[in-house]
């Protein structure tokens, strides 16, 4: 029939198409957040990815990165086959080889080194989440030269937390979002725990009874919805926090009872200047630290004293004097140099504002106290009828961490939390399992002795408790390639991946033979001083050989680093692999209880690629590493990674996954269960438990929790975790630097160790700022992390790059006026090691002495499967190009890493610059521009979805339903709005009226 041309054709809308043939659950890997996802598959292709509503991390939500997973999965930048370099390094000339040849070559290289000197393998991994496997592999191989990327990420937060509270921010703790009344967010933190933080912020603000203060030089991201933005000067957060502490102490608005019981505030510190134990804790014959106990009127072991006294010098049995920690703290932080008036100018925040914030903190902690009627018992068996909450919570990440004073600044934040008595109380910041742990957690790092064909005596990464635990030789010189755990960076608890290429190139402390890296873009945005780094990778000896002789690299995508590898092992995407998100590593626990998760392959690879973990286990067997091969030479895990996940035991009954162990009923401990992965898949690829009600809060001191944690194998004993506000560990290093003990630093490092190993947190100017004092670099330059890209491996993503494919340097209006800079002007940014050209953008929401840009947008021309004309290369830049990997030369010519002196954390945000408007505005393109890599010819048009469209109309559909965001929180304030949907929003415990 011919349609009537005068009648509009009605569309028949297919409202209930069959979307998928199958929906599989797995765990997202578009960043480090580990959200649960449901992947809808149509004809074997990915139709749609959504958050898993049952999952404890994301409760059904999914961010921009996770939602763009399809574009990573089908990216044209994916590597397709093992590659062997045939041209010069950096030329990108490779030949494709078979896996047999690739693995044989790797085995030959690695086997030869292992038989000669296993230290000559440096094995470092990037943003992977399998460090309990990779670290164990390195230990079995026998090299101490292993770490993941934490050293250039946020080790300051990790180490400061672990050495102070036995737990850390990262994703290892969370504010009590349901109860907090005052939330302070320090620095850029749009990275780890991203969906949980967004969920929490949304709930907290919808509840409406909390104040959210963002302390950040830049007002973007989460700061945009803060009640108050404190736009301080970068690197001065410590000064700001000490001024708050100063005010709180002066007003006696600190929780004396909490400090006396749960922190080492009452512990007596020996006051004997010049003696070998000056500044250590006074201890009894059993080694127990002592306090003055008001109840018995004498010295008493700290952990069992009924009434520890916080002030007053005491005389020890040997006649010497000792002073409680609290008094030392009070004397320091009450000094006038810490007053708001003294720091206001340097911080860039008025003294009045600092005083008011201190008053608000006190008001929230002590006037808005929360009482939860839940009895609990402490480690001494003392029963408490209720839990008192001080509803002030804090979080911080890279913004605090990436300064050379970050360790002490983060300790200062933890000190503030403890003074307010808020840690792990209702409304405060709470630990997630397996934290808290002993301070610091064991074990110590191994690697002082190595031998051919011999595993390391322990794990290469650990936590030193004194100078005797350093990885140095008899002369005190570094034994690790990154100089971690040396006198230069004694508490380098995550290693210093950012120094590996420099040190291997310089042969300092020694050259390596094989460099093996995974998922770490060291030839680009993961390195400081990119031009120098490229030189380290390509520089040759007089005989024509490369200074770094062999470089094995595993990656799923054609990143900038691939071009420099000698052997490329192509990895799968996250939808094509098994993985475990383990309590041995970085689990998915919440404050309510422990959890872990898996990834399962939801698609089969369409290329000749293998998951790196699978390859590592295969190499382990080929190399006959004891953990990976039986004595008869056969592999221990012939089934590969899933076989390892199920059957590997790190201790008796403890393996990578905690759920459904033994006969399927055991959590935490139990024999390997061959059906374990099936149980995980049935449950949505995760396992989560709730702590008992009496173990939810006060965990470091709570008998019910401590027994539970000990039973799970998270703690070696059920001893309480008493906060180490004063760090005896730090004092031990300081004493060594003052010439005491068997392990002392070489003369050139003594002053530095003595200065920075202060047992109480303190503030000092970031190193670059101090070194350039008086020079012509008056402006701070930092980055912020775009929520839609950050940590997203392979940010060439076709959808995400439409949101950001070029970046600008943001400048405060007043500074821009002074410089004569308008929007989109080309400007030169001079650092002390080089300069870059980029475009400017003006704004007001930034500290006037600070410029900033989005992190990791700039790409090298031709990399990541992008065309030569991609704006990421011509109109995108990295601040990395002008960040020095080394500090300016000191007396004697020594140059320290541009890192924190305690932990080795890369000091990205210490950068100081000078800015000038380019005279020639017609010059186009960001500088430095690097030689183009061989670019592919990607498709000009993408119409994803056209071929996975649903089957034709099938049904009328069903009535639709409402959805209220944060319904649970709204239900309390909007009349007639019923509670209901809202995920796991209901607090576990009922608050008293």
């Amino acid at each position: 029939m011919i349609p009537n041309p005068f009648e509009t054709v009605k569309e028949t809308v297919d409202v209930a198409p069959r979307v998928a043939d199958e929906v599989k659950t797995t765990t997202c890997y578009m960043c480090a957040c580990r959200c649960g996802i449901r992947v809808h598959l149509k004809n074997g292709a990915v139709r749609y990815i959504e958050g898993n509503p049952d999952h404890p991390v994301n409760k059904g939500v999914l961010c921009a990165k996770g939602s763009a997973g399809i574009m990573n999965h089908y990216s044209p930048a994916r590597l397709t086959k093992p590659l062997k370099r045939v041209g010069a390094r950096g030329s990108g000339e490779f030949e494709e080889i078979e896996w047999d040849e690739a693995l044989a070559l790797a085995t030959e290289w690695l086997g030869e080194v292992r038989a000669r000197d296993p230290r000559k393998l440096a094995f470092f991994t990037g943003r992977d989440q399998s460090q309990s496997l990779t670290g164990w592999w390195a230990a079995q191989y026998g090299t101490p030269n292993f770490a993941a990327h934490g050293g250039f990420c946020s080790v300051n937060m990790a180490a400061a937390g672990l050495y102070t509270l036995g737990g850390a921010f990262w994703e290892f703790g969370e504010p009590d979002w349901d109860r907090t009344r005052y939330f302070m967010l320090f620095g850029v933190a749009e990275d780890h725990d991203s969906n949980p933080i967004k969920i929490g912020l949304g709930k907290m603000r919808t509840r409406g009874d909390a104040k959210f203060v963002s302390i950040n030089p830049v007002r973007t991201g989460y700061s945009a919805i803060a009640d108050e933005w404190i736009g301080l000067r970068p690197g001065t957060d410590g000064l700001f926090v000490f001024a708050l502490i100063h005010e709180l102490l002066r007003a006696e608005k600190v929780d004396f009872a909490y400090l006396g019981r749960y922190t080492n505030s009452a512990w007596l510190v020996i006051d004997a200047p010049g003696e070998a134990d000056d500044g250590l804790f006074a201890r009894n014959a059993d080694g127990d630290p002592l306090v003055w106990d008001a109840e018995t009127g004498g010295l008493h072991p700290a952990l069992s004293a009924a009434s520890p006294v916080l002030v007053g010098a005491r005389t020890l049995e040997d006649g010497r004097k000792a002073v409680p920690v609290f008094e030392l703290m009070a004397r320091r932080y009450l000094r006038d140099e810490h007053s708001p008036d003294a720091v206001a100018e340097r911080v860039g925040i008025s003294a009045a504002t600092i005083r008011r914030i201190a008053a608000e903190l006190a008001e929230a902690a002590f006037e808005q106290e929360i009482v939860v009627e839940q009895p609990w018992t402490d480690w001494l068996g003392r029963r408490h009828d209720r839990i008192v909450g001080r509803p002030v919570s804090m979080h911080g990440m890279r913004g605090i961490s990436a300064h050379s004073n970050g360790f002490h600044t983060c300790r200062a934040i933890h000190l503030l939390q403890a003074l307010l008595g808020s840690v792990d109380t209702p409304g405060g910041w709470r630990y997630k399992a397996p934290f808290p742990k002993p301070i610091p957690p064991g074990p110590k790092p191994a690697g002082v002795t190595t031998a051919p064909n011999t595993p390391l005596g322990g794990m290469p990464i650990g936590n030193p408790t004194g100078p005797e635990d350093l990885i140095v030789d008899d002369a005190g010189q570094p034994l690790r390639i990154d100089k971690a755990y040396s006198w230069e960076h004694p508490l380098a608890a995550h290693g210093l991946m950012h120094m590996v290429l420099h040190n291997a190139w310089a042969g300092d402390p020694y050259p390596v033979d094989v460099l093996m890296m995974y998922m770490a873009n060291m030839a680009w945005n993961s390195s400081m001083n990119v031009p120098a780094t490229i030189k380290y990778l390509t520089d040759k000896n007089p005989d024509g050989s490369y200074k770094i002789p062999k470089f094995i690299y595993a990656d799923a995508f054609a990143s900038e680093t691939v071009a420099y590898a000698d052997l490329v092992l192509p990895d799968t995407t996250y939808l094509e692999r098994w993985d475990c998100i383990s309590l041995l590593d970085r689990p998915i626990s919440s404050a309510h209880g422990p959890g872990d998760a898996i990834r399962q392959p939801v698609c089969a690879p369409d290329r000749d690629v293998r998951p790196f973990q699978e390859v590592l286990i295969d190499l382990g067997a080929r190399l006959q590493l004891p953990g990976f091969a039986h004595e008869d030479g056969t592999p221990k895990y012939p089934g590969g990674y899933p076989d390892y996940i199920v059957n590997h035991q790190r201790g008796p009954g403890i393996g990578p996954l905690a759920g459904w162990r033994g006969d399927g009923d055991s959590f935490g401990r139990g024999e390997p269960n061959p059906d374990q992965l099936d149980r995980y898949i049935e449950n949505g690829c995760f396992c989560a438990q709730d702590f008992p009600d009496d173990a939810q809060y006060m965990k470091p001191f709570n008998r019910a929790y401590l027994d539970y944690a000990h039973r799970m194998g998270w703690m070696p004993s059920a001893e309480p975790v008493i906060f180490q506000l004063y760090s005896e560990t730090l004092q031990k290093f300081r004493l060594a630097a003052r010439g005491h003990g068997a392990h002392q630093p070489p003369p050139e490092h003594r002053d530095r160790v003595a200065q920075y190993f202060d047992p109480l947190p303190f503030w000092y100017a970031p190193f670059e700022e101090a070194a350039l004092e008086g020079g012509d670099f008056p402006i701070h330059a930092i980055t912020q992390r775009p929520m839609h890209m950050y940590h997203s491996w392979g940010s060439q993503n076709a959808w995400l790059r439409q949101i950001t494919s070029k970046n600008r340097l943001f400048i405060h209006d007043d500074l821009a006026d002074a410089l004569g800079v308008r929007d989109e002007d080309w400007i030169w940014v001079h650092g002390h090691v080089g300069k870059l050209r980029c475009r400017a953008r003006r704004m007001r929401g930034t500290n006037p002495s600070t410029v900033w840009t989005w992190n990791a947008i700039g790409k090298r021309k031709g990399a990541w499967g992008l065309s030569q004309a991609a704006p990421e290369a011509s109109d995108g830049f990295l601040l990395n190009h002008v960040i020095s990997d080394l500090l300016p030369e000191r007396e004697g010519g020594h140059r320290y890493s541009n890192s924190d002196p305690v932990t080795g954390q890369a000091a990205w945000y210490d950068l100081r610059v000078r800015i000038e408007r380019c005279e020639d505005q017609s010059a186009e393109g960001c500088v430095p521009a690097f030689e183009a890599l061989d670019a592919p010819h990607p498709p000009p048009i993408l119409q994803y979805g056209a071929d996975v469209k649903a089957d034709p109309c099938r049904a009328e559909g069903v009535p639709c339903r409402e959805w209220i965001g944060n319904r649970h929180e709204y239900a309390a304030s909007v009349e007639g709005l019923a509670d209901g949907h809202g995920g796991d929003a209901t607090p576990k415990l009922k608050a008293a009226e």
């Binding site: 054709v9 569309e11 809308v13 297919d14 409202v15 209930a16 069959r18 149509k42 749609y48 959504e50 958050g51 059904g60 939500v61 999914l62 921009a64 939602s67 763009a68 967004k198 969920i199 949304g202 709930k203 603000r205 919808t206 991201g221 945009a224 919805i225 009640d227 108050e228 002066r250 006294v309 002030v311 008094e327 009070a330 004397r331 000094r335 008025s350 003294a351 009045a352 504002t353 005083r355 008011r356 929520m787 959808w799 439409q802 949101i803 007001r844 065309s867 991609a870 704006p871 993408l942 979805g945 056209a946 649903a950 009535p959 639709c960 409402e962 959805w963 965001g965 009349e975 007639g976």
Partner: protein, 258 residues
């Protein structure tokens, strides 16, 4: 040139809370992901790996600063924007072929791609810039309010809401019948003072935005003026005690006498 229904049985729409939107783009990307394989898909991308990547998006986030030159205070605003499914939708009435239409049963504004001639009159008519032209296919596309998702019983029940709504990490997006004054979304709009975007355009948009709530920020003028005038000591303490010596002595006395 195309008629609007006299009235619709329901007025389905979105309520977007500007108080808590952090500008993360989750809604935009999850929308893209669902809809590129959905009713109005594909959401074509031009130059996806090349010099000027741009494509069809039904939902976009605009970020801008609002500054008060008087007080120096300011705010960074994240503003998600998609089709508002107007009751008096000018994109429909301007359509010469009937391709743009508003559904009687739920008020959703859709484009029938089969008869869209790609004349772009609707994108000129829409005051919100919410229309997206697909150059490759030569047709106009737009937010469907996930019409193929919200009624779809082949999906689990919790997925039967627009993609942007269920994926929003901060919970800033709600969905429901804004024509029913007793619906929860209507109650929410009422309680929070939800507003129409650009009411002067007389398009009667269905979607509502919830305004940012007053911030618990600093008192006015705190950062200027003499110190003592502007900052009463909210924490009582002895101001004349340099370095806290007296305070520590008092604590010690108290400890010794206890």
């Amino acid at each position: 040139m195309t008629d609007l229904p006299e009235q619709t049985e329901r007025k389905l729409g979105l309520v977007i809370d500007l108080d808590i939107c952090v500008g993360c783009h989750a809604c935009a990307v999850n929308c893209k992901e669902w809809n590129t394989g959905g009713h109005s898909g594909p959401l074509t991308d031009m130059s996806p790996y090349g010099d000027s990547p741009s494509g069809v998006w039904f939902n976009r986030i605009h970020t801008f600063e609002v500054n008060d030159p008087e007080t120096g205070s300011g705010r960074t605003v994240h503003f998600p924007k998609s089709c508002l499914h107007c009751e008096d939708a000018p994109c429909v009435t301007v359509c010469p072929t009937g391709a743009s239409y508003k559904r009687e049963e739920d008020g959703i504004v859709l484009v029938n791609a089969d008869i869209c001639i790609g004349c772009k009159l609707c994108s000129w008519a829409c005051p919100y810039g919410a229309r997206e032209y697909d150059e490759t296919e030569g047709v106009m596309k737009k937010c469907t309010l996930c019409v193929d998702k919200i009624y779809n019983d082949s999906l689990p029940e919790e997925s039967r809401v627009p993609a942007c709504v269920s994926t929003c990490p901060v919970g800033a997006r709600s969905f429901g019948d804004l024509g029913d004054p007793d619906s929860d979304v209507s109650r929410l709009v009422e309680a929070r003072g939800g507003f129409e975007l650009m009411p002067e355009q007389d398009t009667r948009p269905v979607n509502r935005y919830l305004p940012p709530r007053p911030r618990k920020g600093p008192p006015p003028q705190e950062a200027s003026g003499p110190a003592e005038d502007r900052a009463p000591r909210m924490l009582d303490h002895d101001g004349g005690d340099p370095d806290g010596a007296g305070l520590i002595a008092r604590w010690i006395d108290r400890a010794l006498s206890s």
